[in-house]
């Protein structure tokens, strides 16, 4: 026994000096009681820790803690060793063990919180941290610790509670004020946040973090000049601080001093040339200054340094777009849409580029090409009804423009004739009949207006129907274009004539007013209806004429004679009421006579001819349009011989 007693004694002595070998020979024995074994491990661990053998110290502490975790001194020492050796999880477990024994030990909660925080278990760290501060509300450090943890996990309201506690304990601590300011900002109380930040700066003017924080807050609340005052001071002290310079650049940018901002970010980039965000910011400044090429380079640099950030690429697209480099913009757009295919904004941006590119030329021989994104038309067997309609309207519009242009180009008089013809007509009629009738027209008291109301409907009909007659033969070359059909060229002509005559009618009426002999129609709907009806009639007959002319080449000359005869049968320079009844009954078969009387009656309220049959003109017009369109469609392929 004495032998054992000796060994035991030497082991206890060796433990306090950290002599592992001597202890092992004793601990290797089976009959050592657990409490003694744990105690020796404990001693060893402490000694070994002091000697600097941390790994072995941790091993020993582990053994001790496993053997007797419920013993206060052992748990205490083990927690201390674990915590100092970076074994935070085990340290936390040991502290929890201790706290099970002494639940109201504030410092223990603080230690446990620290260990849990270091081990990454923030929830338990926070619960211990809060307990520590609540148990010991007068501890400034405990309150600050709890607040910082709460701030980290984004619970600003609770963080603010502990920060207020800390601030009450030490109102002059700038760091607490800064944290409180940040939490208030998170709680959207920006005014108070700014006030606190400014107080923090006032308390510790040399503190870089405080100043940066205050500057950021001031920028957020649009107080740029105050921000500038603070950040300039910081930059003055910390000349080699890229973060401060970046902030200075932002401040100057917001103050509108773009050049100064550029100088600041250049200094920042000298200090840390690899910062993608700095390049992005610098490129944005260059873009603002209109230095597009440099901006584009900056954006691409930033994108290269940080490929995961799409902002640089998006801005690059804008710069390329603005500087007219559409191919490059499109390439960037392609990359963007590949990385995030669902982003609508990118899609819109690309479409914008494509549209612009469609309108403008870019580069050498690439014209109007939006192939990369366009589905090949193979997929669509037939154009939809609306697409076809759109194409047809476009073609007719193009033909109309061409028609008016050629008219202008063909003769020196051009459109002058369109106006001159009715004017001369009316003048002549007025002169002749003013003499014959001794001063009074059949209706109203103005010769000009009376003849005007005869000539306009007549011209609407005759011009449209005559001009459409040889539309096909005179537009034969255009029919070589597959998109242009005979219908289109005939229709375009008719529309040009009708629109021209309508313009002429309006101009003439305005002219009458200018001369002081104007008269406004009293019944505008009737006026419009008669104009529409006679125009339709003219177009319908025009279609029929165009078809006849294709088979019977002299038809246009015969038609010209017929219209001349029509001139005398349409009541242009007389009123049918002046005729004997039997003649009037024959003349009433002439739809143009009804058109003239309809038009005329919309000007003169007292003129209400009983023979006027509006529906007759309407029906004849509808039938002629239907017939014209039908025979044009049916005989289309025979209307012209290809060149």
């Amino acid at each position: 026994m004495s032998d054992i007693g000796e060994i035991r004694q030497s082991a206890i002595g060796a433990a306090s000096t950290g002599d592992l070998e001597t202890c092992r020979s004793y601990l290797g024995r089976l009959d050592v009681p657990n409490h003694e074994r744990a105690w020796i491990y404990c001693q060893l661990s402490e000694a070994l820790y002091h000697k600097g053998s941390h790994d072995v110290a941790v091993e020993c502490a582990r053994s001790a803690f496993d053997l007797q975790p419920e013993k206060e001194e052992i748990a205490n020492l083990c927690a201390w060793v674990f915590s100092n050796c970076g074994e935070h999880e085990e340290a936390a477990a040991a502290y929890e063990q201790l706290l099970a024994i002494r639940p109201y030990w504030a410092t223990g909660h603080r230690h446990a919180s620290g260990s849990f925080a270091a081990a990454g278990q923030l929830d338990r760290a926070i619960s211990h941290g809060r307990k520590a501060s609540d148990l010991e509300p007068h501890s400034f450090e405990f309150a600050l610790h709890a607040a910082c943890l709460l701030e980290t996990v984004g619970r600003p309201a609770q963080a603010a509670y502990y920060l207020v506690r800390a601030a009450a304990l030490d109102p002059a601590d700038a760091e607490v004020l800064r944290h409180l300011s940040a939490t208030l900002l998170a709680l959207e109380q920006s005014e108070q946040a700014v006030a606190l930040a400014l107080r923090a700066v006032a308390l510790a003017p040399a503190d870089r973090l405080n100043a940066l924080h205050a500057t950021e807050l001031l920028l957020r609340t649009n107080r740029y000049d105050e921000a500038a005052a603070i950040i300039l001071e910081v930059v003055d002290i910390h000349r080699q601080d890229p973060v401060a310079l970046r902030l200075l650049s932002a401040t100057q940018m917001l103050r509108g001093l773009t050049e100064d901002a550029l100088a600041a970010i250049d200094r920042a980039l000298d200090l840390s040339p690899e910062a993608a965000e700095y390049h992005l910011h610098r490129a944005n400044l260059l873009y603002r200054l209109g230095r597009l090429d440099e901006a584009a380079e900056g954006f691409s640099r930033s994108a290269a340094l940080d490929p995961s950030n799409p902002d640089a690429k998006r801005s690059q697209l804008t710069v390329y777009f603005d500087s007219g480099r559409f191919s490059e913009a499109l390439a960037i757009g392609g990359e963007l849409i590949r990385t995030s295919p669902d982003n609508e904004e990118y899609g819109r941006a690309i479409l914008q580029v494509l549209h612009r590119r469609f309108e403008m030329l870019d580069g050498d021989y690439v014209v109007l090409s939006d192939r990369p994104l366009r589905l090949r038309p193979e997929l669509q067997l037939r154009p939809t009804f609306f697409a076809a309609l759109q194409t047809q309207l476009r073609v007719i519009y193009a033909l109309m423009i061409r028609e008016t242009r050629t008219r202008l180009a063909d003769s020196k008089l051009g459109y002058g004739w369109a106006l001159l013809e009715p004017v001369l007509h009316i003048l002549m009629l007025s002169l002749v009949f003013a003499v014959m009738m001794r001063g009074r027209p059949p209706i109203g008291d103005k010769f000009f207006i009376f003849y005007y109301t005869g000539i306009i409907p007549y011209h609407l009909f005759v011009h449209a129907s005559s001009s459409m007659t040889n539309a096909v033969s005179s537009s034969a070359p255009l029919l070589q274009l597959p998109l242009v059909s005979t219908f289109d060229v005939i229709m375009a002509r008719g529309l040009v004539e009708v629109l021209t005559d309508m313009m002429v009618a309006i101009i003439l009426l305005a002219g009458f007013f200018a001369l002081g002999i104007g008269l406004l129609p009293h019944d505008l709907p009737a006026l419009s209806a008669s104009v529409v009806a006679v125009s339709l009639f003219g177009c319908g007959i025009g279609f029929i004429n165009a078809v006849i002319n294709a088979f019977f080449k002299s038809w246009d000359k015969i038609w010209a004679q017929l219209t001349r005869a029509l001139y005398f049968c349409s009541g242009i320079f007389y009123v049918p009421g002046m005729m004997p009844d039997w003649i009037r009954d024959i003349l009433a078969w002439n739809p143009i006579l009804h058109a003239v009387d309809w038009f005329r009656s919309s000007f003169f309220p007292e003129y209400e001819p009983h023979w006027l049959d509006r529906s007759y003109l309407a029906i004849v017009a509808a039938v002629s349009v239907a017939a014209g369109l039908c025979i044009e469609r049916g005989l289309r392929r025979h209307l012209y011989e290809p060149l």
Partner: protein, 220 residues
Amino acid sequence: MITLDGVSKVYRTRSGRRTVLDNVSVTFEAGQNFGVLGGNGAGKSTLIRLIAGSEIPDFGIVRRYARVSFPLGFGGTFHGALSGRENVSFVARIYGAGLRGVLHYVEEFSELGEYLHMPVNTYSAGMRARLAFATCLALDFDLYLIDEVTEVGDQRFRQKCAEAFRERMQRSDIILVTHNIHTLRQYCDRGAILANGELTLFDDIDTALGRYHRMVQESL
């Protein structure tokens, strides 16, 4: 892709009826360039116009699953009294292409300069052809129809045309009618022979040329 489905076309001439296509059903696939061979008067130009849609077949139907050009270099739509610009604008409007883009391209390509603002009947034949060529290239067609490549302008301009065309052929297909065997070999992957109302497609241009050569010799 262009399909002819039971297409017939007959012309009445002074010497009687002349059948250009007799119940022809073929498919010109997308992504391939065709060269059409045939004797004089066999109806190659009519075939091109049928494909373009500027002529309607007597029977059958031509389906176009692509934007098909009018025959390259066709200047028939030009109105002598209108300026080059106005004429180009007209064609661009017809095809719904952006006016600015087309005009800019034509300005650059045709090298007509101030003449673009002058009436077309003041142009020489070469200038007209340049304008027509530029207009056709300015519009982005999927399939270009070429009926006898007309040589336009001087050596340098021809070079420019060839380059522009080569670039365009990366995106667009062509159907080419020419007697120039060198041109056919250079541009076409596949051949077609039009004779006696029949249109026969061949998988490669050399086979078509060989067959055509034999046909010509037999008929002599």
